[in-house]
């Protein structure tokens, strides 16, 4: 068990790129856990564990919506940090026992994500003032460049924050599990918690009125399908 500096750096850089998809550029869902965790896992040599992290965290955050100026809890940081923590906890990258602890130790990074997003948005207020001054001076190209500067700033801020989160939370996970090795077994069920809570929350929000009939029908099909298969 040891934190891999290379894994942390790769996670940080990839996280910086994927974080642009969240607000600054695109919104193609590349920053969702199913994509970001699977991609990070594939690059770090644990694609299946990465996909497992992605599936576990995806549903949990589906009801956090970026409505208006509200900054919701976004799952990008925990998805990436969980994969980096898994690589630190299981350097062979073959096992599954360390996936639930990695998810658990990565969850607090969701608050760092929100904090960084808030800092970035506040820092853009200054850019707006400068852009308006440049437009008054008819320096249109420079004003446009400030918009691109804000996107670059989002990349740099998120890269640094994800690097920091991956290094500290992976280090904490290694420290705790080295001290209490039996804890990993006790955390085996924890990997299911985010998915179950997410599925329950989403169902509670979306299934209403006649929707319960469709929901029950889907449940029956799911049970029957996997029994037959």
């Amino acid at each position: 068990m040891a934190v891999s500096p290379l894994a942390v750096v790769v996670t940080g850089f990839l996280g910086g790129l994927l974080s642009l998809d969240r607000t600054a550029f695109g919104q193609f869902l590349l920053s969702r856990p199913l994509v970001s965790a699977s991609l990070t896992g594939a690059i770090l040599g644990c694609p299946y564990q990465g996909a497992f992290v992605g599936v576990s965290l995806e549903l949990l955050f589906l009801s956090s919506l970026p409505v208006g100026s509200f900054i919701p809890h976004h799952p990008l940081y925990p998805s990436l940090v969980a994969v980096a923590a898994f690589v630190a906890l299981d350097p062979s990258r073959n096992g599954w026992e360390m996936v639930p602890p990695a998810i658990l130790f990565a969850l607090p990074s969701v608050w760092a994500d929100r904090l960084v997003e808030d800092i970035w948005r506040r820092s853009n207020d200054g850019l707006l003032q400068r852009a308006e001054a440049l437009i008054r001076l008819e320096k249109i190209r420079l004003a446009r460049a400030l918009h691109l500067t804000a996107i670059l700033r989002a990349f740099v801020l998120n890269t640094a924050a994800i690097l920091l989160c991956a290094a500290t939370l992976s280090g904490l996970a290694v420290l705790v599990l080295r001290s209490i090795p039996s804890l990993a077994g006790a955390l085996a069920l924890v990997g299911m918690a985010p998915l179950l809570v997410g599925l329950a929350g989403l169902s509670a929000a979306k299934v209403k009125g006649r929707g319960w009939l469709g929901f029950a029908g889907g449940l029956a099909v799911g049970l029957l399908f996997w029994s037959v298969i």
Binding site: L34, F52, L60, L65, N124, A150, L189, A204, A216, W226
Partner: protein, 246 residues
């Protein structure tokens, strides 16, 4: 005189609209992004003095990033027709309804739908699941951006008509009716794959769902995690991976 944007210009509008929120700030929100999208078009329309029209478009602006294309179309047309004084009114009147409709359609319906579709497919192949999720959401997202720009540009004389039609609401209802059976299927699949009987899982999730209607997610999540840890300490284990990824 009307100056209609050609294909290259419409592609440029589409690409630039992807960065609408690139400089999101609390003061003018997407204002600088809106300026960035329109600036080449305005520079072309008013080559001698683009300053005044450009300054107008750094003003407060906030709407759903996918639906913004409609307003970009409306404003481009109004500017091309020399009706610059009407642009701020159109933006003020439309950004709220477009934002509400877009958030309901994209964030509250299409995003969960494509994610649940992707997870259901990931039971068979994780890669196929990811691709299905991205394809479902982005095909719709890019098509919406492209079509709404054209609709806005052509319908700039009656910009509220699109909102009054309430087509988004109809689409949200249709997509929601697909989402609920998929959620049921996912629940049944998770039940079967974890070995927990589907009915037990359903009762557990309904109870959890009812709790979540009254409580916020995070306290419930930490409670479930604590109970899971206690069960683990008492010796309850589950074979990993319960999700069939290999």
């Amino acid at each position: 005189m009307e100056k209609r944007p050609g294909l290259a210009e419409r592609i440029r509008f589409l690409l630039r609209s992807l960065s609408l929120q690139g400089s999101w700030c609390f003061q003018h929100m997407q204002g600088l992004g809106f300026f960035y999208i329109l600036s080449p078009w305005l520079a072309k329309l008013h080559p001698e003095n683009p300053k005044d029209s450009l300054r107008r478009h750094t003003a407060f602006f906030n709407t759903n990033p996918y639906m913004a294309s409609y307003l970009i179309g409306v404003v481009s047309r109004l500017e091309a027709d020399g009706r610059s004084e009407e642009t701020q009114g159109a933006k003020s009147a439309l950004m709220g309804p477009l934002g509400a409709n877009g958030d309901g359609l994209f964030w509250a319906t299409l995003c969960p739908l494509s994610a649940v579709l992707g997870i259901c497919m990931a039971f068979f192949s994780p890669l196929a699941g990811i691709l299905l999720m991205l394809a479902t959401f982005n095909a719709f997202g890019i098509l919406t951006r492209w079509k709404l720009f054209e609709r806005g540009y052509d319908g700039a004389d009656k910009p509220l008509e699109y909102i009054v039609e309430r087509k988004d609401r109809v689409l949200i209802n249709k997509l929601s009716s697909v989402l609920t059976p998929l959620l049921g299927f996912l629940l049944g699949s998770v039940g079967m794959k974890t070995g927990i009987p589907g009915t037990v899982m359903a009762v557990f999730l309904v109870a959890l769902g009812l709790t979540l209607r009254k409580q916020r997610t995070w306290p419930v999540l930490w409670t479930v995690i604590t109970v899971s840890v206690l069960l683990g300490v008492l010796g309850l284990r589950m074979e990993m991976p319960w999700f069939p990824l290999k």
